[in-house]
Symmetry: C2
Subunit: 299 residues, 2 copies
C-alpha cells in the first residue's frame, strides 16, 4: 500500500497525542498545553508542552507538517536537485525534575521532494544524568527488539550511527547512553518498500511511551540531594551545547525559519555553566563522566 504524505502526517499527529497522553498519565500532575501554528512558507504544526509536572519539569512533544521551497543552503546540504519539499514528523525532549530520571529524546520524520525522492529518518537516545548500566542495556535491548523485526542489520548499523551522531566532539564525550539514529532510508538504500519502512518508523515511535514511562515510574520517587541537582544542571548544559552547536534538526529549523519556540523547546528550564566545579573522587558523577568518555565514543 502506498501511503500519501498526508496519511503519514496524520499518523504522526496521532502518535503525538498518544505519547502526550501516556506521559500525562504517568506524571499525574502536569498537563500538556497545545499551541497550533502556521508556517508562513507553508504548513504548520501543533506544539505540545508540559511544564512544572510532578515528574517532568519541562518537556515538549511537537508535531509538524510543513512544505514549501528549500533555501539553497539546505538544498546543497541535502544534495537534492529540486527545491519543493514536504516534511513531517514528531520530536520529543523531556527534562525531568528528578536527576535520577533520565532526559530522553526521540524524533521520527518523513521527508519528500516528489513521488520518487522521499525518505524516512529518526532516532531515539537516552541521556541519564547518572548512568545506570542495567537501564542502558535494557533501553538498547528494547530498541534492538524493534529493529530486529525488520532487519538484523538495523540495530548494529543504527546504534553505531547514534554513537556518531550523539557525540559532543568539542567535549570529547557522548551526550548520554546513545540509542539508534537513522536517516534517508528509502527503497534504494534499504531494498524495502515505503510501507515496510513506514512500519519500522511507526514501531520505533510506538515504543517510546512504554520505554519512557517505565523509567519515569522507576525513578520518580528516588531521593536526591543538592549535589545531584547541581550535577543535573551541569549535564543539562552539555545538552544545550549539543542542541545549539551540533543538532541537525535545530539547524534545519533555524535555516528554514521554523517556529523558534517549537525548535528550541528542547532546551532545559534551568541549567548553567560554572567554571570551577568539582565532584567527589570516585563518586557517581565521575563514574558517569568516565562512561560518557569511553563507552559510546565513535570508533
Amino acid at each position: 500500500m502506498a501511503y500519501t504524505r498526508d496519511e503519514i502526517a496524520d499518523w504522526f499527529r496521532g502518535l503525538q497525542l498518544e505519547i502526550s497522553a501516556a506521559i500525562e498519565a504517568e506524571d499525574g500532575k502536569g498537563r500538556f498545553e497545545e499551541e497550533t501554528w502556521e508556517r508562513p512558507g507553508g504548513g504548520g504544526g501543533h506544539t505540545r508542552v508540559i511544564e512544572r509536572g510532578a515528574v517532568i519539569e519541562k518537556g515538549g512533544v511537537n508535531f509538524s507538517a510543513v512544505h514549501g521551497t528549500l533555501p539553497d543552503k539546505i538544498k546543497s546540504a541535502l544534495k537534492v536537485d529540486s527545491d519543493a519539499f514536504f516534511a513531517t514528523g514528531v520530536s520529543i525532549v523531556m527534562h525531568p525534575e528528578n536527576p535520577h530520571v533520565p532526559i530522553i529524546h526521540m524524533n521520527v520524520r518523513y521527508f519528500e521532494m516528489n513521488d520518487e525522492v522521499w525518505w524516512f529518518g529518526g532516532g531515539i537516545d537516552l541521556t541519564p544524568h547518572y548512568v545506570v548500566e542495567e537501564d542502558a542495556n535494557w533501553f538498547h535491548n528494547e530498541l534492538k527488539a524493534v529493529c530486529d523485526q525488520y532487519d538484523s542489520q538495523y540495530y548494529p548499523r543504527f546504534a553505531k550511527w547514534a554513537d556518531e551522531y550523539f557525540y559532543i566532539k568539542h567535549r570529547q564525550e557522548s551526550r548520554g547512553v546513545s540509542g539508534i539514529f537513522f536517516d534517508r532510508l528509502n527503497t534504494q538504500t534499504e531494498g524495502k518498500g515505503k510501507a515496510e519502512l513506514f512500519a519500522f518508523v511507526q514501531d520505533v515511535g510506538k515504543r517510546f511511551a512504554p520505554i519512557y514511562t517505565t523509567l519515569m515510574r522507576k525513578y520518580k520517587d528516588a531521593v536526591y540531594n543538592e549535589q545531584q541537582k547541581a550535577w543535573q544542571m551541569h549535564r543539562r548544559s552539555r545538552y544545550v551545547e549539543f542542541n545549539l552547536v551540533l543538532d541537525k534538526g535545530t539547524k534545519f529549523g533555524l535555516d528554514t525559519d521554523g517556529r523558534i519556540d517549537s525548535i528550541l523547546m528542547s532546551l532545559p528550564p534551568e541549567t548553567g555553566w560554572k567554571y570551577t566545579q568539582s565532584w567527589p573522587e570516585g563518586g557517581e558523577e565521575e563514574r558517569t563522566q568516565h562512561y560518557l568518555r569511553t563507552v559510546h565514543v565513535p570508533k
Copy 2:
C-alpha cells in the same frame, strides 16, 4: 615602528592583567584564578576566571597567542591562501549577579599569516538585562570618542557592523545595546600603518575597564526582586544562543580545537529556557524587549 607579533601579544597580555586588576578592585571580593595552558598545535594562553564575587557572578578575561596550521574549513572561510597562522588577543565576558548591572563583552585581536597578510579585529558590546537609554547613549559616546581620535568614519562604520554582528536573527532581536565591531583592518583596507591601527585597538582595549567599572559601581547596590532575577535568567539564555549558534570567535575556537573551557567561559553560571513565562504588561521587561526588537536592528 613595525611591531612584531610577539610585541603585540605581550601588550595584550598586559591588558589582560590590567583589566582583571580593575575588575577585582571594583568587585571588592572576587579574585581571578589564572590557568596557563598550551595548545597542542602551537602556542597557548592564560585563562583568568572570577567566580562568586560581590558583583561578578562569573567572568573571564582570556589571553591567548596561538600559532600553527589552519584547518581547511577555516582557510576557506577566511579566504586566505596560506595555512600558517598566528593569532593573539584578549576576550572578556562578565556575568554580574545583580540584574541591574549589564553583561559586557570585549574582544581585541591580531591575526597574521605572514609579514604581508595580517589584520586587527575586535569589538565591544553591552548587554543590559534592563536597558537604560542614558547608559546606552553614554556607552556609545565613550566608544565614539575612542573611534573619532583615529577616523571620523570609524564610529558610524563600526557601530553599524556591531548592529549586524550582535543581532540574533532567529529571535529577531539584538543581543543588547550593541557597540562597535570591526574585523580585518589593515593597511590595504584603512590606508593606515600597522602602528596606527594597533594604537586604535589599544585605545579600545584601554577604555574597557573605566567603562565597565563605572557601570558596576552605578548599579551594584541596586535592589532587585525575584521577577528581575527571572528576567535575567531569560536574557542570559539569549546570550547562550548567540554564543553557541552565531558567535564567530566560538566557532573559530571549536574548529581549531581551542581550549574548550576557555572558549565557553562566556556562558552564564545559571540560566534556563522556560516555555511559558509572562512579564507584566507595560513593565520594564516589555520595554527592554521592545528596545531589542527595534533600536539596533540591522538596516
